[in-house]
């Protein structure tokens, strides 16, 4: 590691090391501060949340969270949360079902011009989603698919499929082809080959792909806002509804923001390395 550079004993080297460690800590705290403030505010009462200067030591209350769960309005957050969860989960599954075979055809036994196909997949990510929004809206309106989770599942799948194909290809191309051939010469059936040779290499890739697809679907706002309403509204759309023009709302907005971010935060913390693989389309492992 970089620390072994300076002769370990020398005083200047040690103090420099300490200073850089301190700087790293300061940066970490600076970046974390807004999130910490969000959590603290969510635990304050509405009047305490909106003071200037801030009331850091104000007494803690779960009022904001009670509001999020519909204490005064009677509006439950569960339908939008469940909508978000099912749209994200179903589109992630659909992405896997479509991307794994495709990645197989692009890596282990590559079709001709496989790079053109890869290029096509990635190019769809460069096109602003908003350009296709209107026709999708019109088609949905005429086929009665507006305000339907199914439509979101299809759109989220198309949003994440290119990422997944790139990622899965990069993982599948690590499968040792010689071993695959040797195994099939030795008479190993396809199930054996898949479970013994392919699966161990590819399993982390599937996990990373699922994580990133789930997060992107969970976070999506534009499509959900335009294409859903009362029935299929997702958590991000629900969250925007907490801002009111009258009265204080800061604590409950923060409570709602914490609750809605929680699944992503937990998944991301638990799988930091998978996050990197996913974000870099599998290029960084």
């Amino acid at each position: 590691m970089a620390t072994s550079i300076a002769t370990p004993g020398s005083l200047t080297a040690r103090s420099r090391r300490g200073a850089l460690g301190l700087l790293a800590w300061l940066c970490g705290i600076m970046f974390f501060l807004p999130v910490a403030w969000m959590v603290l505010t969510s635990l304050h009462s509405e009047p305490d949340a909106a003071t200037n200067p801030p009331s850091i030591g104000a007494s803690l209350t779960l009022q904001g969270y009670r509001q999020f769960f519909g204490a005064s309005t009677g509006v439950s957050p569960w339908p939008p949360l469940i909508n978000s969860f099912s749209a994200s989960l179903m589109s992630t599954l659909l992405v896997l079902v479509l991307s794994i075979p495709a990645a197989y055809a692009l890596s282990i036994k590559p079709v001709r011009k496989w790079s053109d196909a890869m290029f096509f997949f990635l190019s769809t990510k460069m096109l602003p989603a908003v350009a296709g929004l209107l026709p999708v809206y019109l088609i949905a309106k005429n086929t009665g698919l507006l305000d339907n989770i199914g439509l979101l599942v299809i759109l989220y799948t198309s949003m994440n499929l290119p990422i997944a194909v790139w990622m899965m290809r990069s993982f599948l191309s690590e499968v040792p082809v010689e071993i695959l051939e040797a195994a099939s010469i030795d008479g190993a059936g396809l199930p054996t080959v898949l479970t013994r040779i392919v699966a161990p290499v590819v399993a982390p890739g599937i996990a990373a792909t699922s994580l990133i697809c789930f997060i992107f679907s969970w976070n999506e706002l534009l499509f959900a806002r335009v294409l859903t309403g009362v029935v299929a509204g997702t958590a991000p759309v629900f969250l925007t509804g907490f801002v009111t023009s009258q009265g204080l709302f800061l604590a409950k907005v923060c409570a709602a923001a914490v609750c809605i971010s929680l699944p992503v935060l937990i998944a991301g913390f638990a799988a930091q390395d998978k996050l990197v693989q996913g974000l870099s389309l599998g290029a960084v492992k």
Binding site: R17, C27, G28, P34, T51, K109, V111, Y137, L222
Partner: protein, 320 residues
Amino acid sequence: MTLTHSLTKRARAPQAAHPAAPPKRSRGAWARRAPLLPALIFMIVVTQLPFVGTVTISFMRWNALDPNNKAFAGLQNYKDAVTDPQLRSSLLTTVSLTATVVLVSLILGLGLALLLDRRFRGRGLVRTMLITPFLVVPVASALLWKHALYNATYGLINGSLTWLWSVFGSDNAPQPDWLSSIPLMSVETSLIWQWTPFMMLILLAGLQSRPMDAVEAARVDGATTWQIFRYLTFPHLRRYLELASLLGTIYVVQNFDAVFTLTGGGLGTANLPYTVYETFYQGHDYGQASAEGVIVVLSSLLVGSFALRTVSSLLREETR
């Protein structure tokens, strides 16, 4: 379960075709292509067909508020779009917003990655704290910045100013209204906060994949820390820097959540996605919105085809 099953089923065809010699592809070619087709067809149907619709509508006079007045309009929508100062300004906003956010978060991300590449007490915890902004749902973080941090009367920034001034016995601390005085910079700051962790994660992975024996050898030969960074670390990182900036651009250029939430596209912060959204969703001018959509796609193709070549060569180098 469904997953393994479908993999087994689809993978069988290419396996069977395997004995055929590679140069001659006839029946085997289709068997090889078969696993690719569902994904390919899905993408064409869901992303390319709507665009055909967009192009068609862009040549029509069609406002949803006046549904009977629907007719072929020729290039009128394009004329209106090109001469519309709002579209031109949103194009510029998109460019400056994307460039600023990507560049600043790349530099900050590099600094943080270099800091985190050294061993120090609590490194894991600092890394976790640093990636947190990226894991907050984007709408939630936009709402957080707008109401809990930027708000002129009770936001944390102005609150801290009040507190800081009062420490020195003054009670007229500056209380700027951040979102109306520096709207674009406010949007950019919140996005930089959100995207720096992304850059840091990719660059940190790059730093940790660098061959340490070369670094050690250089050190033994008396190279300074700066020389090592300049001649060993940086060339190695270059690919990661390019990858991070290109991926960052792909995501930031399409940003909708921050602009929509923080400023509602006002005060010169409307970027292209927001402008198209507004023409369609608030103006209900379908023809105009489609023409704008087509223009957006054409301009991103221009930039995109260059970026794509770089990205795909980068990724291919990595995987093959």
